[in-house]
C-alpha cells in the first residue's frame, strides 16, 4: 500500500443510520403518502363498516361469522398492500428519479441503509395501522383474540415479508415515481381482489378461489382467517407466502440500481 493508506482507518459512524432514519421519518411526516394510504385509508374503511349495521351481525352465509371478522384479515392485507406496493416504491422511485439516491451513492453510507430506513418507516406505519385495526376491531366490532395466535403471527410475518419483497422489487426496477405508482397499482388491485376485498374468498367461483390460494394476499387472508378461528395455517398458504418473499426478494436484490 502507498503512503495514503494511513488515511483510511475511519469508517462511517454507525450512529449515522439513526440520523438517516430520523431524517427519512421527517420526510415521511412532511409527505404523508404512507400515512394516508397505510393508516388513514383503513381508518376510513373502519368508519364505513361501523355505519353498516349488518357488519356486526353473524351471517348464516358466512357460517355464523360476522362480516367484520371475515373482513378483518382483508383489512390487514389492505394496509400491508398500500404500504408495500405504493408508499415504499413511490418514495424510493422519487428518490431515484430526482437523483437523491445518486447523491447519496457518493457518500460512504452503505447503499442498503436507505432501503432499510424506508422499510423500517413503512413497517412502523404498518404497526400503527394494525394497532388501530385491532383496537377498533375489539372495541367496536366485538373482535376476539386469534384462537391460533402462533399461526396468526407467523402468517402475518410471512405476509409482510412477501409484500415488502414485491414492493422492493418495484422500487428496484421503476425509474420514476409515476412508473412505480403504475406498477404498484398493477399489483395492488388484482392482489386485493384475490384477498377478497370486493367479494370474500368463500363466495368466489372455484377457479378464482384456486388462483387466490396461490396469490400472496389470498394465501395470507386464508391463513389469517383460519388462525383467527383456531386453525393453524396450512403448509400451502405459508409456502406460497415464502415463495413470493424469496422470488421477489431475489429479484429486488438482483435488479436494484441507484440511477
Amino acid at each position: 500500500m502507498t503512503a495514503h493508506a494511513s488515511l483510511l482507518s475511519a469508517r462511517t459512524p454507525r450512529s449515522a443510520f439513526g440520523k438517516l432514519l430520523q431524517s427519512e421519518t421527517k420526510v415521511a411526516w412532511r409527505v404523508p403518502l404512507g400515512l394516508i394510504l397505510g393508516v388513514a385509508v383503513p381508518i376510513f374503511v373502519l368508519v364505513i363498516f361501523r355505519a353498516i349495521p349488518a357488519m356486526n351481525k353473524p351471517a348464516a352465509s358466512l357460517g355464523g361469522l360476522t362480516w367484520f371478522s371475515v373482513y378483518f384479515p382483508v383489512l390487514i392485507a389492505l394496509v400491508l398492500a398500500m404500504l408495500s406496493l405504493i408508499s415504499l416504491p413511490v418514495h424510493l422511485a422519487t428518490y431515484r428519479e430526482q437523483g437523491i439516491l445518486r447523491r447519496m451513492s457518493t457518500t460512504p453510507v452503505p447503499p442498503a441503509w436507505m432501503l432499510a430506513a424506508q422499510v423500517i418507516i413503512n413497517l412502523a406505519l404498518a404497526v400503527v395501522a394494525l394497532g388501530i385495526l385491532v383496537v377498533a376491531g375489539t372495541a367496536g366490532f366485538g373482535l376476539g383474540a386469534p384462537k391460533a395466535p402462533g399461526g396468526f403471527a407467523l402468517a402475518l410475518i410471512l405476509t409482510i415479508a412477501a409484500m415488502f419483497a414485491i414492493g422492493l422489487w418495484i422500487s428496484a426496477i421503476a425509474r420514476t415515481a409515476g412508473g412505480a405508482g403504475a406498477i404498484g397499482q398493477l399489483f395492488l388491485y388484482p392482489l386485493l381482489f384475490f384477498a377478497g376485498l370486493w367479494s370474500p374468498q368463500e363466495r368466489m367461483p372455484p377457479v378464482l378461489q384456486h388462483i387466490s390460494e396461490w396469490s400472496p394476499l389470498g394465501a395470507s387472508v386464508h391463513a389469517l382467517q383460519g388462525s383467527m378461528q383456531g386453525t393453524f395455517p396450512s403448509a400451502q398458504s405459508l409456502l406460497v407466502l415464502v415463495g413470493w418473499a424469496v422470488v421477489f426478494g431475489f429479484l429486488a436484490v438482483r435488479f436494484f440500481r441507484w440511477e
Binding site: 500500500m1 502507498t2 503512503a3 495514503h4 493508506a5 488515511l7 483510511l8 475511519a10 469508517r11 462511517t12 459512524p13 450512529s15 449515522a16 440520523k19 438517516l20 431524517s23 421527517k26 420526510v27 412532511r30 409527505v31 428518490y95 430526482q98 437523483g99 437523491i100 445518486r102 447523491r103 451513492s105 457518493t106 457518500t107 460512504p108 453510507v109 452503505p110 441507484w258
Partner: protein, 328 residues
Amino acid sequence: MIPVTTESRPTGPGSVPETGPAIEVRRLRKIYRATVAVDDVSFSVRDGEIFGILGPNGAGKTTTVECVIGLRRPDAGDIRVMGLDPQADREDLHMIVGAQLQASALPAQLKVGEILDLYHSFYAEAADLAEIMDSLGLAEKQNAYYKSLSGGLKQRLSIALALIGNPKVAVLDEMTTGLDPQARRDTWHLIEQVRDRGVTIILVTHYMDEAERLCDRIALLDRGRIVAIDTPDGLAGRAGVDKRVRFVPSKSFDDHLLAGLPEVRKIEHEGEHVIVTGSGDLANAVILTLAAAGVTATDLHLDIANLEDAFVALTGRHLHDEIGRVHR
C-alpha cells in the same frame, strides 16, 4: 489527430516521490451499449492540484469522473485514487473523496440545516459544520426547505456537501452551471481556498474562463478521447495562437523599440492604436519596455489565445457553440 499526451512534464523538484500521484487513470475505457463513451483515457493528478477536464457535451467528462469515484465500472483500464481502487474500496474511497455531481438532488422536504447535519454524520472526520455553512453563505438558510432554494443556493449546498467530509480529493462536475456571475466568482474563490488547504480537486467544466482561472492543468476531452493535457498557458501555446496586446501610446515611439523583443513577432498600427502580436509574457515585456522609454500604454487590451482557440486548433471543432445550445 494530435497524439495523446498522458503526462506533459516531469514532476517538479518540490514533489514527494514516494507519495505518487493523488489520482492515476490508465487506459480507461467505458462503453454504453454500442457507444464508446470513454476511450483509452489516461491522466494523473498530483497531490494538491486543481485538474480540469474540459470538453463539449458528450465528450465523456462525466463518465470519466464517475469511474474515478467508483459510480461506474470501467470496461477496461486501471484507476487509483489515493492508492485505492474505486470499485474494490468504494466505502473507503467515499470517506476521502467528496463529489458534487450533475443530476443529483436532495429530498425536497428537508431543510438545509437538516441535510447538512445528516451528511455531516456520514463521515468519521467531518469538517466543521459552522465553518462550511459560513464559507458557503448557507448559515442564514438553515431553516429553508430544499425545494424553496434558488438554483444558485442548491448548487452551493451541493458544493458544501462535497466538502463536508473533509475530503482529500474533491470532484466537482459543472459546479458553477446555473450560478450568476457574482456567485460564480465567489465559488471560484472558495475552490481556491479549498485547494490551499491541500485538497486535490478534479474540476469538470465547459467554461473556459473557469478552467483558465482555476486549473493548474487541463485535460481536453473530445469524443471520449484525450486531445491534450497541459497547463492553460501551455494549451493556448500549443494552439499556435499568438497573444495580442492592443493599446494607445501616450506618445509616438519607434517600432524598433519593441521589434527587438524576443516576445514580439509583429507590430501593426490601426489609427491611434498599436497592436503587438507575439508570445510568452508579451504584455509585461511591452509595457516595461515602453515605460523605460517614457511611453505609457493607455486603453490597454490583452487578447490572449484562450482554451476555446486551443480546442478549435486541436480538434477542428468548436467547444463553445456545441455546449451553448444545451446549457444556456
